[in-house]
């Protein structure tokens, strides 16, 4: 039998901010790139996102936060994924994030930080180059 692997991406909005224009554009862009995109919707806490990612067997988790709570919320998702034995899931993030927070985010296990203005194709290429179905 020949495997038919597809990349599964879970996109989530941790925290209370409701700015979902960006993540919805990315969801569509990723779909058009051939990925299977699962969207968790707004106002989710890290635990909800992590559980969904595990149930969906996501290869990649993409998070967006524009409220300033990114250091805690993103870090918490990575931490809980690891605790649940899913540390091999790649986590990427975007939003309103000061450049000076990037080292801290990477140290926490975030693989890449995308700033406003990043073309969809840049993100798609990054994913294709860095994430393989688990």
């Amino acid at each position: 039998m020949s495997p038919e692997r597809k990349l599964r991406v879970l996109l989530g909005k941790p925290g209370l901010d409701g700015h979902d224009r960006g993540i919805k554009i990315i969801a569509r862009g990723f779909r058009d790139a051939g990925f299977e995109v699962i969207y968790t919707g707004l106002h989710q806490n890290p635990e909800q996102i992590v559980n969904a990612a595990i149930q969906e067997d996501a290869d990649l988790v993409g998070l967006s936060c524009l409220s300033g709570a990114h250091l805690y919320l993103f870090g918490e998702v990575v931490k809980q994924l690891r605790e649940r034995g899913a540390g091999d899931v790649t986590v990427i993030v975007g939003g309103i994030i000061p450049a000076e927070d990037v080292p801290a985010l990477k140290a926490a296990g975030i693989k890449e930080v995308f700033f406003p203005g990043t073309p969809i194709q840049t993100m798609v290429d990054w994913v294709k180059n860095n994430v393989k179905p688990l």
Binding site: M1, S2, P3, E4, R5, K6, R8, A27, R28, F30, R31, D32, A33, G34, F35, E36, V37, I38, Y39, T40, G41, H43, Q44, N45, E47, Q48, I49, N51, A52, I54, Q55, E56, D57, R84, G85, A86, P133
Partner: protein, 319 residues
């Protein structure tokens, strides 16, 4: 995919279950082996199918049903099916947005499934995902899909009990009637029952069901008005579903339905197996030889195809 997932799945390991589901979708050979091991542990769950046009509130209804079953101390699995894009193969799976509050409940497992192009494959994947949830010990499994599109799985054949969801003002009753979908439900939900036109819709449905006299056995489909968003009518719906379950198990109906599902499953498995062989043929070296012969007019396409199939069937018997 790691081996020996079965043990973990039976113990309720979510990650192991998710890995196997993925393996099935991705057509990994080990996944079929694991499924075979898992099969004896299945057959216990009550399977509910939910279908209806886009916008009638299926996912919201599923969300409310999960709450209701959880209040009754029953564990729940959800399979939410959405179409893949025929152009890119990608999919946007958003059903679980409306079920987000159950993400932290260990008694609930929600899995999104993309249709990935061919109906047989989807049916196989959907049934297999259901089995994994069943083996995990989920009491109720809800399968949700848009019912009227083409290349979709026929949800009625997957489920023990089928719900068709309607909402006033959608103008889709006629389409569904034409597609024969409207006639096959065990329970009808008129969602958004507070909206104008809900009463008329209910009357139309009653007339339609009233004129239908050839009910198999004695179950007369129930109509439940609901406002899923506000949790109204959900207790009544849950009661109706459990009532139907009792009816199924009281007689031979449950076996009849499971035989239907077995047929679908068997057909899907056969199709899946043959498809793999077809793929093998199309990707084999011999195909190139045959194509060369064909291009040089040494053979004809009909004979060549027959030879290719014979060859593959030989392999088929070997495995």
């Amino acid at each position: 995919m790691e081996n020996n997932l079965t043990e973990k799945i039976i113990r309720g390991d979510v990650r192991a279950a998710a890995k196997l589901m993925r393996g099935i979708e991705d057509n990994l050979p080990e996944a079929t082996d694991e499924l075979q091991k898992l099969y004896p542990y299945t057959g216990k769950a009550f399977i509910i199918g939910i279908t209806g046009s886009p916008g009638v509130g299926k996912s919201t209804l599923v969300d409310a049903l999960i709450t209701s079953f959880r209040q009754r101390q029953m564990t729940v699995g959800v399979v939410a099916i959405d179409p893949s894009s025929p152009f890119t193969g990608g999919a946007l799976l958003g059903d679980r947005v409306r079920m987000g509050k159950h993400n932290t409940d260990a008694g609930v497992f929600i899995r999104s499934l993309a249709s990935r192009g061919w109906a047989g494959g989807l049916a196989r994947a959907a049934i297999s995902v259901m089995y994994v949830m069943d083996a995990m010990g989920k009491d109720v499994i809800i399968v949700e899909a848009v019912g009227s599109g083409q290349g979709e799985v026929d949800i009625r054949r997957l489920a023990d009990t089928t719900i068709v969801v309607l909402a006033p003002g959608m103008g889709d009753e006629i389409q569904m009637m034409k597609a024969g979908i409207l006639e096959a439900a065990d329970v009808y939900v008129i969602n958004k029952a507070d909206k104008d036109g809900a009463g008329i819709l209910k009357t139309q449905l009653e007339i339609m069901l009233g004129t239908k006299t050839d009910y198999q056995n004695e179950w007369k489909p129930l109509i439940v008005p609901a406002q899923a968003l506000h949790g109204k009518g959900i207790d009544e719906l849950t009661a109706a579903l459990l009532q139907h379950k009792d009816y199924l198990y009281a007689g031979a109906e449950i076996m009849r339905r499971r035989r239907e599902r077995a047929k679908l499953e068997l057909a899907a498995a056969v199709e899946h197996s043959l498809r793999n062989h077809v793929k093998m043929i199309l990707e084999s070296e011999e195909l190139n030889t045959l194509a060369d012969n064909l291009a040089q007019r040494k053979t004809n396409p009909y004979l060549a195809a027959e030879q290719a199939v014979h060859k593959a069937m030989g392999k088929f018997r070997e495995c």
